[in-house]
Amino acid sequence: MRYEQHYAWSILLRLFHWSFALSIVVLVVTGFYIHFPWTNTLIEGETSFPVATMRYIHFIAGFVFTGAILARLYLLVFGNKQERFWDFLPVTPRNISNMFHTAKLYLYFTEEHRPRIGHNVLAGIIYIITFIMALIQMLAGFYMLYPESAAWQKWGLFFLGSQQQGRHLHFLIMWYFIIFAVAHIYIVIWNDIKTREGLISSIFNGTKYISSDNP
């Protein structure tokens, strides 16, 4: 079987992926700490500020996360062919059939793999949901970060409700990201083993290997 090398992911997309993924790891760890600061500083007058420090790291990572998601929104429209949203949403007959086919493949109903340079459509749908979740998470985060700002207050109240409701949602969406990460990393490895297209390395170097036998 012969494989052809295809350039799939631009540098900006790969930068997005890793700043997004790493910032989420940091945000989950620090977010958990903010939710339940399990340490208890016993000595008074110490110069350690564990909660303040964790919040500070959370906010820095929050800004990285925000930058990443904004870059991805730009790429959704202005990126290369694979990065635009209509390439991986079920909006064309070809994509709809790919969605059903991928579902069958993941359920082991078929062994036939139909290569694509970009995302398969099932993954694409989940990624779009993830971007929407990221936007809500970002809004809730800034709503809590700038409670005295009239602008954030207006948006926050409209979409999320009171500060407490925003916090609750922020906390629940954290679980979405944890669960997404587990499923995502598993399915990426699974695909990498199954298809031998160099899927994982593509998110580092941008290129995938597609078998030239079935275009």
Binding site: H35, P37, T39, S48, F49, V51, E148, Q164, M174, I178
Partner: protein, 367 residues
């Protein structure tokens, strides 16, 4: 007790000194400069000051009580002195038909010039029959009085957001004033009960400037509700340094550490309690060792409970709507995901082992 004190205790009117003191306190709470105090005093002492109609709906009279029973009687008296209270069911002498006449008279005589204060939620279900006064529903009375006033002050969380009767499942369809009154300015002094100073400041602002103070998106005056409890709290240093009461009565609690872990809702609540405090003795809930319950926020009975936990539980859609902790809900779903991943991988490996012969040839093909 000296003669002077005795006279002060007995008089219904406050003396000038107390009067100015009260106006100064309110000016400070509103963040106005000292130079404004004479203006406030002038407006509050004017004969042309607007009369006040105080409507009581679904409420417990706790808001009135806090105003009247401030430990130091000055504030309560001051309020009664500054506003000319024409109709207030709890404190007025008139009763029955006489009271209703006073109400109608004031509305007609001072149309567009009086201040309407509302205490309590307004039931709207079944045409609002769940709260009636003198044969009229609260909805009717509000629709009659509010549009004729210069401004409505909703006092307390019931009047602002519906309060406890609007808590899930809200059997009477209770709502706050802002949901019903359109076209007339509504100022929300939320809290269960709110601080008398916030009310006083709002009234003085209306009297002096003829317009409501600046408010946040929920209609609460920024001078009182512009900042979170958590950002003004005296225990904040303990929060930042990670010193917490783990449970009530433990060593950390005795030391006055932060109440975050025992459910303090200060991080989600806007109010001036830590700055203005209550009862003229400098006390407020967190100062007393009890976490903030978030009483100034919309739907706080639903969103701030359980009061001793950080976040409310999650309503599970399946079953009978089981409520579980947000954390355990997340852990359960994560567990299901992990199990799904495990089964998926096992099926894949299983298929590989069973279909070994076929696999080998096909993978040889690939190489």
């Amino acid at each position: 007790m000296s003669r002077h004190d005795f006279g002060k205790e007995c008089s219904v009117k406050v003396n000038r000194r107390t009067f100015i003191k009260g106006c100064t306190m309110a000016a400070a709470a509103m963040g106005l400069s000292e130079a404004m105090v004479p203006k406030l005093v002038e407006a509050a002492a004017s004969d042309q000051r607007p009369p006040v109609i105080w409507l009581h709906f679904q409420e417990c009279t706790g808001c009135t009580e806090t105003l009247l029973r401030a430990s130091h009687p000055d504030i309560g008296r001051l309020i009664l002195d500054i506003i000319s209270l024409d109709y207030h069911e709890t404190v007025m002498a008139a009763a029955g038909h006489q009271a209703e006449e006073v109400l109608q008279e004031t509305i007609n005589k001072y149309q567009g010039k009086f201040i309407c204060v509302v205490e309590g939620g307004i039931p709207t279900k079944d045409d609002g029959i769940y709260c009636k006064i003198a044969g009229r529903t609260a909805m009717d009375i509000l629709a009659d009085v509010a549009p004729k006033s210069m401004a409505v002050i909703a006092i307390g969380t019931c009047a602002t957001f519906g309060g406890i009767q609007a808590a899930d499942p809200n059997p009477t369809g209770a709502v706050g004033v802002r949901d019903l009154v359109k076209g007339t300015p509504v100022i929300n002094i939320s809290g269960c009960p709110p601080n008398p100073i916030s009310f006083l400041g709002t009234v003085l602002h209306l009297l002096t400037f003829g317009k409501p103070p600046r408010t946040d998106a929920l209609g609460r005056p920024l001078f009182a509700y512009g900042r979170k409890i958590h950002d003004q709290c005296e225990r904040r240093a303990h929060f930042d340094e990670g010193r917490f009461a783990e449970q009530f009565g433990d060593e950390g609690h005795k030391q006055g550490y932060c109440l975050y872990k025992v459910g303090c809702k200060g991080p989600g609540t806007f109010a001036n309690c830590p700055a203005v405090r209550f009862n003229d003795v400098g006390s407020w809930p967190v100062g007393q060792g009890h976490g903030c319950i978030g009483c100034t926020e919309p739907q706080f009975w639903d969103t701030m409970t359980p009061f001793y936990e950080r976040l409310p539980g999650v309503d599970m859609p399946w079953g009978d709507g089981i409520v579980t902790g947000a954390n355990s809900a997340g852990i359960k779903i994560l567990g299901v995901t992990a199990a799904a991943v495990g089964i998926h991988a096992a099926v894949g490996i299983g298929k590989k082992i069973i279909g070994c012969g076929r696999c080998n040839t096909s993978s040889e093909d690939q190489e």
